[in-house]
């Protein structure tokens, strides 16, 4: 126990020093910059307030992104330019084609499944008794890491050879229905869908909470007026509620799309990308940190980036429209 404290207390010392140092530097800069007056006051304030963020954004995101694009045209050790050879290899490799196909499945299925289920729950929950309890329980997986969620579901998908007792929930249910359980995580292409269920399990609560807030924001008099006009149930949803939450629905869908595209943790933890389950972001990590090919890894990162550009453009156009309305 003594050695535990002697190795871990200094870590907290580092935290205290880092935070104290951070605030001390900030206050000092504020104090010095605050001395400026007259015409210099504004530019100095702008540089002081915005400078740190801009430096970090440039050093951490913008310059590295440009470097990654350059690396994607270079060889494994980023020494010489090899043109589009990394991309050519990626697109002509059968394993990689499977990876792209899996990623397409992820970004087509999971965002829609998650957002639709979230909307369904939000509607069903609305004004229900004990609404907040149900919401909390459905939302809870959001606090659990994808790694933690993977452990939870690995337990559900556990399989034992027929001579041993089945302890996995899925195997037990399947057997009680009179079928023979299979080794779920090794069964292609079923395993990719089983991994998707983990994602859907984690993210549906997020979609539900946001869509639920949007539904509650629909003005009561609109709903009441249409109810008087005879719109109930499905028709009310189709013609009144859904059009009013459509923009939120699309925002949630786009968020899910980006999250599922970058998905890494679940695949890494459940299969390590084996058994035909790998996705782009897992391959990117493997290329760079397992096979030490910076060129191919960077090309995969660039492909991820190309996938998000439509969403990026859409988001910006949305924000601009909002700005002009406001």
């Amino acid at each position: 126990m003594n050695s535990f404290f002697s190795t871990n207390l200094p870590k907290f010392g580092q935290v205290i020093i880092a935070i104290a140092g951070f605030f001390a530097v900030l206050l000092l800069i504020f104090y010095i910059a605050g001395k400026a007056n007259g015409r210099k006051q504004r530019p100095i304030a702008i540089i002081t307030l915005l400078g740190p963020a801009m430096v970090l954004l440039f050093a951490g995101l913008i310059i590295p992104a440009i470097q990654t694009i350059l690396f994607s045209f270079k060889d494994a050790n980023s020494v010489k330019f090899i043109g589009f050879r990394n991309y050519a290899w990626l697109f002509n490799n059968a394993d990689m084609r499977k990876v792209f196909f899996n990623t397409m499945l992820w970004i087509v299925i999971t965002p829609f499944a998650t957002t639709a289920l979230g909307l369904f729950l939000a509607i069903m929950l609305d004004r229900m008794k004990r609404e907040s309890l149900a919401k909390s329980l459905l939302f809870m997986p959001m606090a659990i890491s994808f790694v933690g969620a993977s452990v939870i579901w690995k337990f559900v998908y556990d399989y034992a050879v027929p001579s041993k007792p089945q302890t996995g929930l899925l195997s037990t249910i399947v057997r009680s229905l009179g079928f023979a359980p299979s080794n779920w995580i090794l069964t292609q292409p079923l395993n990719t869908f089983l991994l998707m269920i983990i994602f859907i399990w984690v993210q549906t609560g997020f979609a539900m909470v946001i869509l639920s807030a949007a539904i509650k924001a629909v003005p009561a008099d609109i709903v009441e007026a249409s109810a008087l006009d005879g719109a109930f149930g499905w028709r009310l949803f189709r013609w009144i509620t859904f059009p009013m939450v459509r923009s939120t629905f699309i925002v949630v869908l786009a968020t899910m799309l980006v999250t599922s595209l970058k998905l890494f943790d679940i695949v890494r933890t459940m299969t390590g990308g084996n058994f035909g389950t790998s996705v782009i972001s897992n391959e990117m990590y493997s290329e760079v940190f397992v096979r030490f090919d910076t060129g191919r890894g960077s090309a995969l990162a660039v492909i991820l980036f190309v996938f998000v550009t439509p969403i990026l453009v859409y988001n910006i156009r949305n924000l601009r429209r909002e700005r002009t309305i406001a």
Partner: protein, 307 residues
């Protein structure tokens, strides 16, 4: 589904107010909760029980033990985990606290500047930062790691010397801070831009400079938004795997507990009993934060997505 009984209290307000809808919700809720509960129940069962029967047997033959937690926290010679995960749990705390405070402060400053100290191009800059939100962090990992280990050079001239923070806590705080900024600035800007103009102007008339306004007006009034983002960032950092795998070595000195848990899953022959308790130790703190601060967290999510 289309048969709707209008509740007397609020006519027409509810879309589907049947008992049917309520039962559907509860069936799904139970389905959503069972996997977590199964793991939780298993974490109190001993190795033989976990191996021989499903966790639902605790209802017929409860034979509960804290042995798994003891082994996971403090280590045991019989399990695959000889040293215990406590050092990794400490690392997670050590990584998370600054990785929340730094981006929150820096983003609040930037958001205030973009919202209230407008200059030529400040709107364009805000759009640009907003757009950075969706850029995959995969685009940054390799060059950033190279910067930390080797510095930056242009044509043999050293621009930035090697920072020597690879594999140190600073080398994890920094990427987390950088990656958090676009979302943080966007969320806080939305909030700070809506603060009352009169208040700002009155302070300036009284002779307060931007720093005084920032410290004495902007920060205190922005606490709800700051708290919402802080919780969001806390969960992000605590639950992150990719950044930690890239920038922290897997060792007891710096690796967070989530990395340790992931490596336990991958370990050949690592026992379920270690995994179950290990997973619960990993998710206990975020769950606690989540349930106690859920309202702030939801508010933060809504600010980001509905606006």
């Amino acid at each position: 589904m289309s048969t709707v009984k209008i509740a007397d209290a609020n006519p027409g307000r509810k879309l589907f107010s049947t008992k049917f809808a309520t039962s559907v919700v509860w069936i799904i809720t139970v389905f959503w909760t069972v996997p977590t509960f199964g793991l939780f129940a298993s974490s109190f069962r001993n190795k033989q029980d976990i191996f021989l029967s499903g966790w639902w047997n605790i209802f017929v033959a409860p034979n509960l033990t804290l042995g798994n937690y003891r082994a996971v926290l403090f280590g045991s010679s019989s399990s695959t985990l000889s040293d215990g995960v406590l050092p990794y749990l400490m690392n997670s705390i050590v990584i998370t606290i600054p990785a929340v405070i730094f981006p929150v402060m820096i983003a609040t400053m930037a958001a205030y500047c973009l919202a209230w100290v407008k200059f030529k191009g400040s709107d364009a800059l805000f759009f640009f930062i907003f757009a950075l939100q969706v850029v995959p962090i995969q685009m940054s990992l390799v060059p950033l790691l190279q910067l930390f280990t080797g510095g930056a050079h242009i044509g043999g001239v050293t621009i930035i010397p090697k920072l020597g923070i690879a594999g140190e806590f600073a080398g994890i705080w920094l990427p987390h801070t950088m990656f958090a900024l676009p979302l943080a600035i966007y969320l806080l800007h939305n909030f700070i831009a809506s603060l009352p103009r009169d208040l700002m102007e009155a302070a300036h008339v009284d002779g307060a400079n931007h720093f005084k306004v920032f410290r004495q007006i902007v920060i205190p009034l922005s606490i709800p938004a700051i708290a919402a983002f802080a919780i969001f960032q806390f969960l992000w950092v605590w639950n992150d795997l990719l950044v930690a795998l890239t920038f922290a070595s897997g060792t007891e000195e710096v690796a967070p507990i989530n990395v340790k848990l992931a490596s336990l899953v991958g370990q050949w022959g690592s026992g379920w009993e270690t995994l179950t308790a290990g997973a619960f130790v990993t998710i206990a703190i975020p769950l606690l934060v989540f349930f106690s601060l859920q309202r702030f967290f939801v508010r933060g999510l809504l600010a980001g997505s509905v606006k």
